[in-house]
Symmetry: C2
Subunit: 97 residues, 2 copies
């Protein structure tokens, strides 16, 4: 199952099977009755976060849940070689219609 923080209804996207994340999001809306779920991702996983949002809102919870907000940002940090590196982040908020 995808990583979920039950309290704030967040799904952090990583390298697990795609449907784990979709199921995680759908379950939060259905069995946990969340009003909003935030899909978060960094770097190369940003494309996946968009796929998860699209499959959730266009296929599994069509006419029930839609994308309410999308924020992009970036974090700078020092990598192992001491070099300054920037990684982009995304937060996609899905909400009940």
């Amino acid at each position: 199952m995808a990583e979920t923080k039950k309290d704030d209804h967040t799904v952090l996207v990583g390298g697990k099977p795609f449907m784990n994340y979709v199921t995680g999001v759908v379950m939060q809306f259905t069995t946990q009755n969340a009003a909003e779920v935030v899909i978060k991702a960094r770097g190369k996983f940003i494309s996946r976060a968009v796929d998860i949002a699209e499959v959730t809102t266009k296929r599994f919870l069509e006419n029930t849940v839609s994308t309410k907000d999308i924020k992009i940002d970036s974090e700078e940090f020092e990598n192992k070689e001491g070099k300054q590196v920037r990684v982009s982040t995304v937060e996609i908020t899905l909400g009940k219609d």
Copy 2:
């Protein structure tokens, strides 16, 4: 120089070197005096589109240009094997502050 139509100021992200896209966006704001530039991408290039937006707004045109709008969507089409396939898309609108 006069501002040209918004539609002309679009950058479609693909597999070219990263800085080509950043330079393309920056040049549209600077030498072409665009008010807005739209960065479009599909599938795995969505993460890159976010990187391009972040590097443009946080490094090259900080305090001048920022992200104004982000839209996600998806297109369904039939692949070579006749199977229905969905691909996600993104449109990131950058604009002068």
